[in-house]
């Protein structure tokens, strides 16, 4: 590594024509004569929400302690056994009916990260009106990611990023009198302010790398006309930077900008494909119809956002709770939700398991990229904690206890990974969030329905 007298600022951006591109942690950002210590290796936190739980017999291992052979759904995660924690018996009490009748899907997501039972906004639509006319204002609770974002979000360009794949409809009733705001938003800034996820790859890309509002109409037209890369607009800055850094950083920079360019090209290709084959779909323009490709695009951008320290807090809602999405690409043409009400039909159970496995394979591919991204003192995954889970365990019975919950990454050494820990029944999942907040340097006495921190989680 070349030691320069003056370190490059951690939040250096390549800028040009109203666009800016964040950078990964480079050796040159280490202060001169600091003997290899990085000024800050941030811990990143993400919540990946999968809908309608899992076939739990294929999720829960029969053992506790050190992770060995993983059950069917978790098989793709075997390369990450030393970097993951499987947590058993965590409960989302706010997902239960309590006094409010049907609506388990809405409650599952709407209170998943807050521990709150969302307020029903209309009469139970399962018994009549499905028109969507709300009769009460939405009310849930501030989510764990936003507690963290409020405390440390000022250190990054975005306090948090909210990403999704399926549906961002905010109006109307989506589940038994519960507003669609509950099923379609994972992050809530306050009890009454959900943060809708970005679904469209280009929208996320532009949010991360350039404010398209900052481009003049002429500049945007020019860019679209010539399909130039966003990187073309920051080429001058990029060239200047190349002269300031050493060969190792030049390689890192090249790899990073290449990955940004690849994402951009895939977005352009998808926009082209969408226009050619599926113009009538009710989806934002340029959104891949294929689940895995859409997931890959969005997760690649989350990886870049973490690498460039654009944000440290992400919520990623993989599917709307209660989703009836089909997965023809893996031979499952039936709707997911319909299949989960399998009434113990083995064929339907098998198809749900196939969907669960597909989600997990896609997630594991992302984790490989997180692991491949090197940072000063390890990998990006080492310095992250990615929760993969659902607010429902058994989709057939709508249970909200013993939720499928996994954390991948070591949070900079905060987590003691490589184990399956089963907690006592009814342990609130908010206990996990309270512990994760500690890992992010945020100290809270109480959160949601937490009764304390999770024991045995940390090193």
């Amino acid at each position: 590594m070349i030691v320069t007298q003056k370190a490059l600022a951690r939040r250096t951006f390549l800028r040009g024509m109203g666009l800016s591109v964040g950078l990964p942690l480079l050796d040159s950002m280490v202060p001169a004569l600091s003997f290899g210590k990085t000024p800050e290796t941030p811990v990143r936190m993400a919540f990946v929400y999968v809908p309608i739980g899992a076939i739990m017999e294929h999720w829960n291992p029969t053992y506790t302690g050190a992770l060995g052979e993983l059950p069917r759904i978790l098989k793709p995660m075997e390369p990450f056994r030393k970097e993951m924690l499987l947590l058993g018996n965590l409960t989302h009490n706010g997902g239960r009916a309590l006094l409010d009748g049907g609506g388990d899907h809405a409650r599952a997501t709407g209170g998943y990260l807050s521990g709150v039972q969302p307020k029903k906004t209309a009469e139970d639509s399962s018994y009549g009106d499905r028109s969507g006319g709300n009769t009460a204002a939405i009310k849930a609770g501030i989510t764990a990611d936003q507690v963290v974002a409020n405390k440390i979000g000022g250190k990054t360009r975005f306090a948090s990023l909210e990403v999704g794949l399926e549906d961002a409809q905010q109006a109307g009733n989506c589940d038994s009198g519960y507003s669609c705001s509950y099923t379609n938003n994972l992050a809530w800034k306050s009890a009454t302010q959900p943060l809708p996820p970005i679904l469209e790859p280009r929208a996320l890309f532009e949010r991360m790398f350039g404010d398209s509002a900052g481009l003049s109409p002429e500049a945007r037209d020019r860019r679209d006309l010539y399909r130039r890369s966003i990187l073309d607009f920051v080429v001058e800055d990029s060239k200047k930077l190349q002269t300031k850094v050493g060969p190792s950083d030049r390689r890192k920079l090249d790899q990073y900008l290449t990955s940004v360019r690849e994402v951009e090209q895939r977005i352009q290709q998808n926009e082209k494909d969408s226009r050619q084959i599926d113009p009538g779909m009710e989806k934002p323009g340029g959104t891949p119809g294929n689940f895995a490709e859409h997931f890959k695009l969005m997760s690649d951008m989350i990886t870049i956002a973490f690498q460039a320290d654009l944000t440290r807090t992400v919520t990623f809602i993989v599917g709307r709770e209660g989703s009836n999405r089909t997965y023809r690409e893996i031979g499952v043409p039936e709707g997911h939700h319909n299949l989960t009400h399998h009434r113990n039909n083995p064929e339907m159970i098998e198809r749900v398991a196939q969907i669960n496995c597909y989600h997990m394979r896609t997630f594991a591919a992302w984790m490989e990229k997180m692991k491949a991204a090197k940072e000063a003192d390890g990998t990006l995954l080492d310095n992250s904690m990615i929760v993969y889970g659902s607010g429902i365990a058994d989709g057939n019975r709508h249970t909200h206890e013993d939720l499928p919950t996994m954390i991948v990454g070591k949070a900079g050494g905060f987590l003691k990974s490589g184990r399956r820990i089963v907690y006592r029944r009814e342990t609130p999942i908010c206990n996990l969030y309270l512990s994760m907040m500690e890992g992010m340097g945020v100290h809270e006495e109480h959160f949601g329905d937490a009764t304390g921190h999770l024991s045995e989680l940390t090193a």
Binding site: T91, A97, L99, G102, S126, R425, E426
Partner: protein, 346 residues
């Protein structure tokens, strides 16, 4: 799909017990009996004795009454798990709850099955109590404590607990204290600090059933042999037999608390004037009358003795009333007139 509850249901009961004596098992039977009569719903059971077998015993009693109890949360008749303290005094086993666990049927299998094998199969008390409260209508839950105040002190320490208690709890009936001359009672003495906190900080009314009420009524052994004979294996009758040399009449204390909690207006007991109960450093309790006080204590009325006894023997021994369930509970006990072997006494 479970419909939204639009009519106020019967009173929810949370029963927190140390299972120190047969009386506690009888109190549980009384509460399940009253549940069967739809006078209340036993929505949560927790154990303040750090003893897994005590939790298993309360689980098998719950399963025995599974067709009748309504401690369901969510739908499909799922009940909340048993809450169990993992620390504190009173760790030792008691025969009245261990012997029924050892009982086997003619097939050599346990007469009373339970899924609880490990502490992990029980629940943290603060969470299970709070979760039970969240599923109740406002001002429609009574908590009955028979044992140290340890568990409720933990509930009080949970974030937001006081708000939940104020909203949901109608009354707390605490079996403990002494409101006549005498030493500190065993329930307060078992955890004096928690008792101090409970009486000082509980944000609602408390009715104490003091040690002077202990044994004013005894359960007749004859009732065990006669009134429980409808079942070839009854976990409460078996507990009673294991609790002493038959025939013995068990002194009652917790049962008085349970009966008052569900039927406070029936005049079974007299009531003190309002005031404030404070717990002294040595565990004795002091009652200071005051018009605005939120505490009272029960007073035995000898004129009601026969009436109370009749209620106890009839309700505690009542056959569970089957309620329709969409899905049978796992391991629900199905009562069969099968031959049942008693465990050999050591």
């Amino acid at each position: 799909m479970q419909p939204r509850i639009t009519e106020k249901p019967s009173l929810g009961i949370i029963f927190d017990s140390a299972l120190s004596r047969v009386d506690d098992a009888l109190a549980m039977a009384l509460l399940y009996g009253l549940d069967g009569k739809k006078e209340e719903r036993l929505v949560s059971v927790s154990i303040s004795r750090p003893n897994l077998k005590a939790a298993i015993y309360s689980d098998i009693v719950g399963r025995f009454y599974a067709g009748a109890v309504s401690g369901a949360i969510g739908f499909n008749g799922r009940a909340l798990p048993v809450g169990l303290a993992l620390s504190g005094s009173m760790k030792e086993d008691r025969p009245f709850f261990t012997e029924p666990l050892a009982k086997v049927g003619a097939d050599g299998k346990p007469a009373y099955p339970s899924d609880i094998k490990h502490d992990l199969d029980t629940a943290e008390v603060a969470a299970v109590t709070r979760n039970a409260l969240t599923a109740q209508w406002d001002d429609n839950t009574t908590i009955v404590v028979s044992g140290p105040a340890s568990n409720l002190a933990k509930v009080l320490a949970t974030g937001g607990a006081k708000d939940w208690i104020q909203r949901k709890v109608k009354s707390l009936v605490f079996t403990g204290g002494r409101f006549a001359e005498g030493p500190a009672d065993e329930n307060i003495k078992a955890d004096i600090e928690s008792a101090k906190r409970l009486f000082a900080e509980w944000p609602g009314s408390i009715v104490a059933c003091g040690a002077e009420m202990d044994g004013v009524i005894a359960y007749p052994a004859a009732s065990i042999e006669k009134d429980y004979a409808w079942s070839p294996a009854h976990p409460v009758a078996d507990a009673y037999r294991a609790g002493g040399a038959m025939p013995w009449d068990a002194p009652l204390w917790a049962m008085n608390s349970a009966l008052y909690a569900v039927r406070p207006k029936e005049g079974y007991f007299k009531m003190s004037e309002p005031g404030t109960i404070s717990v002294l450093d040595d565990g004795r309790t002091r009652f200071t009358p005051s018009a605005n006080g939120r505490h009272r204590y029960l007073i035995f009325d000898p004129a009601q003795k026969e009436r109370i006894l009749k209620a106890y023997t009839e309700i505690a021994s009542a056959k569970p009333v089957e309620k329709p369930q969409r899905v049978p509970r796992p391991n629900q006990v199905v009562l069969k007139p099968a031959e049942v072997k008693q465990p050999e006494k050591q």
